[in-house]
Chain length 163, copies 2
C-alpha cells in the first residue's frame, strides 16, 4: 500500500463522529450488531479518508492495544461490507468508508492507480444500465459498488510536470 497523497486531508473529527453516529443509527434500526471492535475498525477506515489496506488497519489496531491478527480485521471488514458501511476496492486490495451509507445507492468509485486516492460518486443511471445489460443473460448483479481505475487530476498534472 504505502502510497500517499497530501492533497486530500483526512476528515475533521466532527465529520468522523457524524459518520460513526450514522452507522450506529443504521445498525440499531436493522438490529445488526456494531460491536466495539467493528466500530473501531470502521472508525479507522473513516479517519483515513482514503482507501486503506487490511494490514494497515491491523497495524493500527495493534497500536491501539487490540491483540489482533488478520482474521480480526477481515471479519470486521466483512461485517462492515455487508452493512454497506465499507466498500472493498478489488483492483487495489483496499477498503474505504462508504460516503452515503444511508441511501442504498450503488456507487461508482474512481481509484487512481498512481496515488491510490479514490472518489466515490452517486451515479443514478449507471446500475440501471448495468442491470439492462445483465438481464437478457439472466445474470444477477450483487456488487454494490463498481471500481474503475485511472489517473486522478493531480497525478496527471504530476506527469505533465515531469516532462
Amino acid at each position: 500500500m504505502m502510497s500517499s497523497t497530501l492533497r486530500i486531508k483526512p476528515p475533521a473529527p466532527q465529520v468522523v463522529n457524524e459518520q460513526l453516529a450514522q452507522a450506529d443509527a443504521l445498525c440499531r434500526e436493522r438490529g445488526s450488531n456494531l460491536t466495539p471492535l467493528r466500530r473501531q475498525v470502521l472508525e479507522l477506515v473513516i479517519r483515513q479518508g482514503r482507501p486503506v489496506g487490511a494490514y494497515d488497519l491491523l497495524d493500527s489496531l495493534r497500536t491501539q492495544g487490540r491483540g489482533s491478527s488478520p482474521p480480526t480485521v477481515y471479519r470486521a471488514l466483512e461485517f462492515l461490507q455487508q452493512e454497506g458501511l465499507v466498500h472493498r476496492l478489488p483492483a487495489q486490495n483496499t477498503y474505504m468508508a462508504c460516503s452515503h451509507p444511508h441511501h442504498h445507492h450503488r456507487g461508482l468509485i474512481f481509484t487512481c492507480s498512481r496515488c491510490g486516492q479514490a472518489l466515490e460518486l452517486e451515479t443514478p443511471d449507471l446500475f440501471g444500465m448495468l442491470e439492462d445489460y445483465a438481464r437478457p443473460h439472466g445474470f444477477e448483479i450483487s456488487d454494490d459498488s463498481l471500481e474503475i481505475s485511472g489517473v486522478c487530476p493531480f497525478c496527471q498534472e504530476a506527469s505533465r510536470d515531469a516532462r
Copy 2:
C-alpha cells in the same frame, strides 16, 4: 481458484486456433513481440474458456515442460494485457482471454461469485457514460474492462433447487 463448472465447454480447437491467429496478426501489425512463451500462455488462457488463476497457468506451463516460476507467467500476462488480448479480473484474481481483441471496444465482464464463470459483453454506451461521470472531476479512465460480480443463471437455479 479450484471452482469449476461443467456447463460451459472449452472452445473447440478450431476456435482456439482462430483466436491465436488473430493475436498473431494483431501483434505483427503493431510490431509487438508475441514470443513462443507469451503465445503459449495465451493459448492456455484461451483453451480454458473461462477465467484462470495465474498459478493454474503456472502449473500448466510446468506440465508442458517449461521450467517456470511465477514471474514467467505474470510477465506474459502483463504483456498480453497490454496488447488487449487478456483481461484481468481483479475481484477474482483471474485472467481471461478477450473475446474481441480486434476492436478496441472496452467491455463489461460479469463474473459469477459462485462458479467463477464469466461473460464478456460489448456495451456500446457504458464507457461513454463512465467518461461522462469522470470528466467533471478531471479523472482519466485507464481500465479497458469493467468487472462486475454477481450470480449467473445456472448458480441461481442451483440455489433454488437447494431450497
